[in-house]
Symmetry: C2
Subunit: 287 residues, 2 copies
């Protein structure tokens, strides 16, 4: 069912890693740590950029900068999120987290320079005439009103007296992970100067489905397969989509959202099939 997606994702990973070798030579320790942080991920966000660019006939030379840029932002957020002062994780993508392999200071700086690199890539000539629109929307999606505000909400929730409601979790996740997924899916339309509305609707449903699937994986998954610690939320007594909806309810909701995501792609006809496959993959993945 998701064979088209799996092949496209593999191709996207190869393209992005090849581009990383061009843009991030392993010149010194800092470059090496940034390279380490970028490797091993699914690169779903970069795939969404490349696929939405394909739908809009955007040259690959432009799209690949944006695809690597969003992977830089995602990687930076993981490196900082894993720090002892934050989630204190030892394992990420099946490897030691950056501060475990090196040290905390190096992890702070590697994350910092990954964020900078994202904007450096988007400001390159090869991105073309709509570069500023991509930079402006990425900064909004990643910053104080987007991803980082979601992380702040997440930290506040840990010490709050009452668990988050379902609505609060939905808002938190829309910011923490949804904003970047939305930016990725809309990037192709923005690069082409086209209306990103259908892709935005697709991504909003996809992002929420992705997070529900993440909560399900935390309950049902196996650490070795998932590549990071599991059962963390339940052990911490944290409110999640699963604690609110139950395991079956959460699966049902994820399926509904994947259907909604696919329906939003109707304007693209058969050209949208790979993105539809991506939505089905997101709710059936085991890592």
């Amino acid at each position: 069912m998701t064979a088209g997606f799996t092949a496209a994702l593999l191709q996207a990973q190869t393209q992005i890693l090849n581009h990383m070798d061009r843009r991030l030579p392993q010149a010194d320790l800092l470059h090496q740590t940034m390279d380490y942080a970028l490797r091993g991920g699914k690169m779903l966000r970069g795939f969404l950029v490349l696929e939405s660019a394909r739908l809009h006939d955007v040259p690959e030379t432009a799209a690949i900068e944006a695809a690597l840029a969003i992977e830089c932002i995602h990687a930076y957020s993981l490196v900082h999120d894993d720090l002892p002062a934050m989630d204190d994780d030892d394992l990420r993508r099946g490897q030691p987290t950056l501060h475990r392999k090196w040290d905390e200071a190096t992890a702070v700086l590697a994350g910092d320079s990954l964020q900078t690199l994202a904007f450096e890539l988007l400001a390159r000539d090869s991105v073309g005439p709509n570069a500023l629109s991509l930079i402006r929307t990425l900064a909004k999606a990643a910053g104080k009103d987007g991803m980082v505000s979601g992380q702040m909400m997440d930290i506040a929730a840990e010490t709050a007296e009452t668990p988050l409601t379902l609505d609060e979790i939905t808002i938190l996740q829309a910011r923490k992970t949804g904003c970047l997924i939305e930016w990725s899916a809309c990037a192709g339309a923005r690069l082409a100067g086209a209306d990103p509305a259908p892709l935005r609707h697709y991504a909003q449903a996809l992002g929420l489905a992705f997070q529900i699937a993440d909560d399900i994986l935390d309950v049902e998954g196996d650490a070795a397969t998932v590549g990071k610690a599991v059962r963390k939320d339940a052990d911490a007594g944290k409110a999640t989509f699963v604690s609110h909806l139950g395991l079956e309810g959460a699966k049902h909701r994820a399926q509904e959202l994947a259907d909604l995501a696919c329906a939003a792609l109707a304007p693209y006809g058969a050209a949208g099939d790979t993105l539809k496959d991506a939505a089905r993959f997101v709710i059936s993945r085991d890592s």
Copy 2:
């Protein structure tokens, strides 16, 4: 001697703080922490942006975004630099460092979103037709080949077996603090689409003079006046401009560099007088 500069600096501080209130409403805790990190600094970098913009008749509506942007980058670097895993400082600008006033996780996130905000500001329509040039050069100055690489060199030096040579310290400081000072001074020319070469030569001398003055302050300064801990370098047995040149030698070199900075402004005639005052201030400051 530096009265023109003092007045211009005060005016720049007021302009930048007013603009901060517009662009960074204290909507929630994250916004408040970012506001806290931005306040209380000299805003020398923002002043350089505004002054170089004035020299090139750039509209203030454009220059003020760039001035606030560079102060965001500078503030983020200080917040992360002060973290326990980095310099572990309790005092900054005479106030508790951000992780002391709140906590480490909040300090990591406040720094992260300050960096993002810098690029968001530079991508605004009000910056005008040369926004991408500012974004591209700022990313280079702040990232893996600029400021952050200087911070990595600084960390490596702490555990190195032999102290840094004078040439190595010069390269380290050119990256760690020089790059951002250079970007600030060149910003006005870049906003105007003019040649930044004279301002670059000015800033390269100014940046080095600034760092030598910082090393002198660490030896001669008073913590209460300086607003941060002093005597840190000597206590740590760290190689500095003073340890290499001696106190008098360092003062002499700072004066030479200030003269060099002033000479580079010759093409601007009397219009460059405030920037010349800034160079004299930098080597005579007590904080």
